[in-house]
């Protein structure tokens, strides 16, 4: 619709406005595509989380991830965007924004992006941070409790974290700025830490621990779902990391290269490790390994070399296997491994920038310890990780305590046994067309 082709050859003056305009167009169009890819990641989350949980809760878990997207968009539009990016950047503004409400006057935008283009990409991210948690809360959480969490997370908690760094706040203002290119900490660890708080507040599912206190596996109902979900997340990550350049640039090729290599290494290493441990290659854990590699490389995908990305991915693949076992042991029941994948590998990936960074861009990132850059970047990375983790943990613990005391957090024993689908949503996630349904 609407735009017509130019006819006469453009003058030099025309060119002087056309050419920068082309870059603007390209940047905005690219971020539109990247946003579509990030939104697609939600289908990945739905599949991974549904696949790794039981059929009797399938309707509930897909609903949680699904309304999460809807809530995230609306809440980030109404509140979160202004908190993350609006207003002044000094004083209190280094910690929490406020301004440019409803993408209106004074709405922030980055580089060549229109405020709208910037908004859609950020809104898709906000929904992502929130949805990570649903996996750790699976199979026992009251729907109203989850919804309450999702509203607060996308309207307030996540936006504040964003403010500190991408929103130009205090972490960005450090003399060597904290560097988290696409959000190992800001998105993934934030989700992972909230997931930890949630799983602790909820307690384990019935039957998850035997009378002897030993963990008993509760296998998910569809490994194909889980693996297709992992692949969709991989596809979406091209938009997640590539789009985080917030404009079009040949550099996205290198960003995607480190992303792909880390993903591949994470999966290969996790597969090998499970084979060594039990003699069987665990499918779900291999999926987690790929995601671990992706989470791990998210902070450093711009700054590290391909060899660095191979190492980061491989280490993430090891970490996730041991982290899952660890949380199992301390009785934090996380049905999909969200805490291990997003929390643990988010921490590692962020700190790894301080080790493996091979880039030196003023105000963006310094070289890491292993590439002769000393500890400046490493220290900033640790500051960022600790600060964000502390804030999110405290905020989440309070939030879940309030939810518990008000609308309620955990369903009744009967509901948990029979499945959340019928009780919370009226009918089962898998209807039957057999006569005796």
């Amino acid at each position: 619709m609407a735009r017509a082709a130019e006819d006469a050859p453009p003058s030099l003056e025309d060119l002087q406005s056309l050419v920068p305009g082309l870059q603007v167009t390209l940047d905005n169009v690219f971020i539109l595509v990247a946003t579509a890819l990030v939104i697609f990641m939600h289908a990945g989350f739905v599949l991974v989380e549904a696949g790794l949980t039981r059929a009797k809760n399938a309707g509930n878990i897909v609903m949680k991830n699904f309304v999460n997207v809807a809530i995230g968009i609306v809440a980030f539009y109404l509140v979160g965007y202004a908190i993350a990016f609006g207003g002044v950047f000094d004083g209190l503004g280094a910690y929490i924004g406020g301004g440019g409400w409803l993408i209106g006057d004074g709405a922030f935008a980055y580089g060549n992006l229109t405020p709208f283009t910037f908004f859609i990409f950020q809104a898709a991210f906000a929904a992502t941070a929130a949805t990570i948690v649903s996996g750790a809360m699976a199979e026992r959480t009251k729907f109203i409790g989850y919804v309450t969490y999702a509203v607060v997370m996308t309207a307030v908690i996540y936006p504040i974290v964003v403010r500190w760094q991408w929103g130009g706040g205090w972490l960005y203002q450090l003399s060597t700025p904290f560097h988290d290119f696409a959000g190992s900490t800001i998105v993934h660890m934030t989700g992972g830490v909230a997931a930890f708080a949630a799983a602790r507040a909820l307690g384990p599912r019935i039957g998850r621990y035997g009378a002897d206190g030993k963990p008993r596996a509760i296998p998910g109902h569809s490994i194909p779902f889980a693996i297709i979900g992992c692949l969709i997340l991989f596809v979406g990550w091209f938009g997640f990391n590539g789009g985080s350049w917030l404009g079009a640039d040949p550099i996205v090729g290198r960003i995607a290269t480190t992303t792909m290599i880390a993903a591949g290494a994470g999966a290969v290493v996790a597969a090998l490790l499970t084979k060594l441990q039990s003699g069987k290659t665990d499918v779900a854990m291999t999926g987690n390994g790929l995601l671990a590699g992706l989470v791990g490389i998210t902070a450093g995908c711009f700054a590290v070399t391909t060899v660095g990305s191979l190492i980061i991915g491989a280490v993430s693949g090891v970490l996730v296997v041991y982290a899952v076992a660890f949380f199992d042991k301390i009785k934090v029941d996380d049905p999909v491994g969200a805490i291990s994948v997003h929390g643990v590998c988010g921490v590692f990936g962020t700190i790894a920038v301080g080790l493996f960074s091979n880039e030196e861009v003023e105000g963006v990132v310094a070289k890491g310890l292993f590439y002769g850059g000393g500890t400046d970047q490493l220290v900033s990375q640790i500051i960022g990780v600790v600060a964000v983790a502390a804030f999110v943990l405290v905020a989440s613990v309070i939030l879940f305590a309030v939810i518990k005391a008000t609308v309620g957090l955990r369903v009744s024993e009967q509901e948990e046994r029979e499945g959340l689908d019928v009780h919370e949503h009226g009918s089962p996630g898998y209807g039957s067309d057999r006569a005796l349904a």
């Binding site: 046994r417 009226g426 009918s427 089962p428 005796l436 349904a437």
Partner: protein, 112 residues
């Protein structure tokens, strides 16, 4: 030889199985079934419309046991399967005139 058939609540299966093992029962055959009884059903909702579900998931156990132990096994089942709430199920006994173990061709008490 007696055949004991029991209809129980699904989530009680583990308890019943453990109790039967403890009572030296060596074999059970288990079927997923649905039951209609006093427990009644419930109404489910889907896209704004309703429908009635009056067949409730149950588990059916089948055990061939020696005549002498049949009543004791019934007691074990009744005890371990009971919750005291409606829908707990039934146990009944029928006569078996011959039993064969396929693997060996053994018959009678040796077959179970």
């Amino acid at each position: 030889m007696k055949l004991i058939t029991a209809i129980i609540k699904p989530f009680k299966l583990d308890d019943v199985k453990d109790a039967l093992k403890a009572a030296n029962v060596t074999g059970i055959t288990v079927t997923e079934v649905r039951g209609f009884g006093r427990q009644g059903g419930h109404v489910e909702t889907y896209r704004g419309a309703e429908y009635k579900v009056d067949l409730i998931p149950k588990v059916r156990l089948e055990l061939v046991v020696e005549d002498t132990v049949a009543d004791r096994v019934v007691e074990v089942i009744v005890k371990s399967a009971g919750t005291g709430k409606i829908g707990d199920g039934k146990v009944w006994i029928t006569d078996v005139s011959r039993v064969v173990r396929i693997r060996t061709g053994e018959e009678g008490r040796d077959a179970i």
